[in-house]
């Protein structure tokens, strides 16, 4: 955590100084905004948290509920999301309160007595060490609390506007001069009752069931982010089609406090018995657990009948499935019948497929508004957060003038593919879980699929295609462990200034900056001439260097680019003061030196070995949302310059 460099911070350093529109932010929703986010679920809240780091952008988030989410909905947190929490500054806190999954048990009918279940297999949860972060379970409400806190404590000081329902929107057509008005999206909102005590302060607002009051108003926005869930009205308003199987699958979900003799009650379990299927998820706090009791496919003519399944029926069914074990339920703080189909929306913004590329999208849909799937793979909240982050930084870059508007077209291009892959994975996983063991080709097929495909539900299979913000794989062999288009997988290094062992990726913050890592050639820091030194000199001074071309002329490139070096030597052999000056930029009003840009190799975990980095040096470019954008040799300065000419505007 870096602070004090703008002057002494006496209180919690997580509270950043307000800036721009965050200073004297109006409590009341204004008539004109840059970005209007609809919905305070994971997708909307992450977009708001990211945009709060762009204090020159006026962002508001409307939510029809009267206050914070209190209970229920999703709870599975894949490791990719915990990496995200790290970037938003609360990983260590949520890890401390969450449940951690380290293995999964598979229970099946006992071959010796089919009426009973028995433990058939136990598999480790992250067999390949795909992330240094754990796989967690914690209620969605707490995840949202932390993002809300981040939004509130960031320079933009964003706090949700509770009690406003999105009713519809209209996008202005270009005038006779071919120009759009500055705020072309006209959004109609309706006041909902039920705003709780202290609404406007996310930490205290209390959710009450809101009713529409008839009081309407219009807000004009440059851009709208629809994060309003599966029944999205924003989706409807842009005429996007939600496509996919009409068939729904229903689950009785209950968050349960119970006494039981089932020995794996604190282990994630898939339980298949003659009487049906259960997915058991232990929850945070040591006692609570969630059970998804399979209620089967819902017939098209069901007309909500399945939703009438009572809690007692779900409990009775759970007991049948668990036989010979019993579940003495003492308290069920939340339950629901969760019906869900596999669906993806045809497009994630307001530009019809055939017009893509011809105009800038103005309205985006994210999260459940554009893809829904079963709870089995634990994806809903996670994929939605990545949607929100993706659109969040892109809007920030376009609105503060850093990037061309074309950047916004990459949102659909990138996230639509992810959603389609997700649905395909979820279909297969759901099919396997619903198949009777005796009908599987190999009885171990389910657990094998789980282990084999672990990278997917953990959130690490996403690999973006080449675009204006993802380069080619031409030089991939120089950094085999940082595949272009995939998320930057952190590795341990040593910080030179203080000898601290740190994780390189844990210093990525959700601050909207591009990151440029120079992994040095063999020469030590004090060498007069080296490939690294030449590259660094180019970066600092050449007219086509991104630091010169795309950052303020007064040398303040550090607000746009985070440039770091990693030497091949251990920290005792690297001389901080000999590293090129570009790695020791001046920072803050006192012109202090940032010492935390120069790294060394941890002999116990050599990052060059662990990530397959060329000993001749290599440059790795990382996007604001952690994805590897480019891998280049130190000599390829022209290609580096060209890459950023595509991604950023000239200053």
């Amino acid at each position: 955590m870096q602070f004090h460099h703008h002057g002494y911070v006496s209180g919690d350093p997580r509270v950043e100084p307000a800036a721009g529109v965050g200073i004297d932010r109006p409590t009341e929703l204004p008539d004109e905004v840059d970005v209007l986010i609809v919905g305070s679920g994971p997708a909307g809240m992450v977009a708001a948290a990211q945009l709060a780091q762009f204090p020159d952008v006026t962002t508001r988030l409307v939510e029809r509920r009267g206050g914070r989410l209190e209970i229920g909905q999703a709870d599975g947190i894949q490791a990719r999301s915990v990496e995200t929490f790290q970037a938003f500054g609360f990983a260590e806190r949520i890890i401390a309160e969450a449940f951690r999954i380290t293995e999964m048990a598979f229970w099946k009918p006992d071959p010796e007595n089919h009426a009973n279940i028995h433990r058939a297999a136990v598999t480790p949860d992250d067999p390949t060490g795909i992330s240094e972060f754990p796989h967690l379970i914690v209620n969605q409400a707490r995840v949202l609390d932390y993002f809300a806190e981040y939004a509130r404590n960031s320079p933009g000081r964003i706090v949700p506007d509770y009690g406003w329902e999105f009713v519809g929107l209209e996008i202005a057509q270009p005038g006779p001069d071919g120009e759009l008005p500055e705020h072309p999206v006209m959004v109609t909102l309706e006041r909902a009752t039920g705003v709780g005590v202290g609404a406007g302060d996310a930490s205290h607002a209390v959710a009450l069931d809101g009713e529409l009051t008839g009081e309407r108003r219009t807000v004009r926005a440059k851009f709208v982010v629809g994060a309003d869930g599966a029944r999205s009205k924003v989706r409807e308003s842009i005429g996007a089609q939600h496509v996919g199987a009409q068939s729904f699958h229903a689950w009785g979900v209950m968050d349960t406090l119970a006494v039981t003799d089932f020995p794996d009650i604190r282990t994630k379990c898939s339980i298949q018995s003659e009487a049906g299927n259960i997915l058991l998820i232990p929850r945070e706090g040591g006692q609570l657990f969630r059970m998804y009791v399979d209620l089967g496919e819902v017939a098209e003519d069901d007309r909500g009948a399945v939703r009438k399944t009572t809690l007692d029926q779900v409990i009775a069914k759970a007991n049948d499935i668990l036989h010979p074990y019993t579940l003495d339920v003492r308290n069920v703080p939340w339950h629901s019948v969760y019906e869900v189909g596999h669906r993806v929306t045809d497009r994630f913004d307001d530009v019809p497929v055939e017009e893509q590329g011809s105009r800038t999208p103005r309205v985006f849909i994210t999260g459940d508004a554009c893809h829904t799937h079963s709870a089995k793979a634990g994806q809903g909240m996670n994929v939605s957060m990545q949607d929100g982050w993706n659109i969040g930084w892109k809007l920030g870059h376009v609105l503060d003038g850093r990037a061309p508007e074309a950047l916004l077209e990459t949102y659909h291009a990138e996230r639509h593919v992810v959603a389609k892959e997700l649905i395909a994975f979820d279909r297969e996983w759901s099919r396997l879980m619903a198949t009777k063991p005796e009908d599987l080709g190999d009885p171990a097929e389910l657990e094998e699929f789980y282990v084999r495909t672990f990278e997917f539900p953990a959130g690490f299979m996403t690999q973006y295609e080449p675009s204006m913000i993802v380069g080619s794989q031409e030089h991939q062999e120089l950094a085999t462990g940082f595949p272009v288009g995939k998320r930057f997988k952190s590795a341990p290094v040593e910080r030179v200034c203080d000898g601290n062992p740190v994780h390189l990726g844990h210093h990525h913050r959700a601050d909207g900056r591009w990151r440029i890592y120079a992994f040095a050639d063999r020469a030590p820091s004090r060498a007069d001439a080296s490939a690294l030194a030449s590259w660094a000199a180019w970066l600092a001074e050449a007219s086509d260097s991104p630091l010169v071309a795309h950052a303020p002329a007064d040398g303040g490139f550090d607000d746009v680019f985070d440039v770091k070096v990693v030497y091949q030597q251990p920290h005792g052999e690297v001389d901080l003061m000999e590293a090129p000056a570009v790695f020791r930029p001046a920072t803050g009003p006192f012109g202090l030196t940032d010492y935390e840009k120069v790294y060394a190799t941890d002999p116990a975990h050599d990052i060059f070995e662990e990530r397959g980095l060329s000993r001749d040096g290599v440059v790795v470019v990382v996007r604001p949302d952690h994805y590897v954008a480019q891998v280049l040799p130190l000599s390829a300065t022209g290609e580096l310059a060209e890459f950023f000419r595509g991604a950023l505007r000239a200053h």
Copy 2:
């Protein structure tokens, strides 16, 4: 973290439900209290945080400042304190914001040119891995914030009463019947001005320099804790003598933001040059550092002259010492001339030495009020916190009826010895640091002393003598890694219910409970008969078992004792439901089972090997403040019973 077992907790689980006097706690200081703490420094704040876990005890803390400490004072956090933070639930948060020390550099005159300094040695900071927690640097203000938060979020809901100065006290004499009044200590307080906005809520109160207003009042207390710092009026009021060298040593201390070419500016350094000595401490946030510039011994007739040393003089001297490096100071948010002598008070409570044992002490002094020493070993805040914790749980136990009043006599007995050892250590360390390198027997004597004695400043040398709460070392060979009287050194284990790898000691909370660990004999959990099973049966049912003798008869022993078992097998071989019932107690209003008391051995870090535990099993008893109280064979039930007959009252 355990929660939800009393019903669903929607918000931050760190906020515990209010209970007892914490429900409707009056904002105004009442006329009668159980415990009155004077001073909100580390000692007083920790005592308050601990007592907030005893909601049947009315505790108030008066502080003459108008609000929270904002800046300055101590910043060194030894690993023992981080263990303490873990027990108070904020270790992971403060670690994330603090600076971490991993090594120390020793700079000395360059033998080739005495006018210059050069780096003579670098030593690792924790060469022996004495704790799994790091050695940190963070401002005292933040440490106090976290303890204040804990006090406020604990069942007793304690918030400091800012703006009250302690003026004096009188202790009532026994009446003709030999009885003392219930609240025998009459304390006179005077209102100080300058209470800031929102005082009464530690998170918002702002410290203003207070002036006395003349408005006085009396508060009657059962016990008073003097935590009012080096010039303690509480110490004065009980007539205790502050003894020790009259000579003081002065340091110019400055928290500095600067530009420099000194390469170790982010490393803890001892710098000895021809021009004098500096102790350099990097601080949290990446930029700030603290320099202690040696101003030498203060003559007895100095009359405050040293305190007139200006900041410019300190900066000039620092530049002289650092030659050939320079320090271009840009901002100094805090500086002070810190004068300190090596002193210990003759007694830590109001009972004169010759009367010890004849009556219950009523007034205690803690922290700087009873011992002061140099900043060089970074001890001030750390030792004070342990004082506060020690008296805190003891007062809680006596006042809620769990323990006999004699327990309070162990406060002086235990902490006075620690203070004396500390002074002796500090003298030696100060002497070495002040000695010119050429005058040392061996030029490496300083760094060798640092490495050799590392356990001391890290806070782990404390070993309490046998008493009513520390047993004998008779059976020490059964658990050589848990020395009786020293703090319980945690080790990794596996939690059986969920297979999570956890640190056994990290589940110690500052909840006032005694902990009883049964390390099992070789038999597996499902064995019908074993030494462990017999011991567990005795513990659950025998009339002399502490669980029966010293806990409520309705079986709620879990509020008084935390009883855990660790098996020798890995978790896959331990059957949770076969472990004796005493390790699966019922908890909370729903009678749920606590699953987190049964542990297994982590094959990668066998706790039996790492802590030298007998394979025939062993019982380890740990005090509420983490100190190992007793090591016993599983067969020694009589001795276990006897031990607790001394430490606790019969129920």
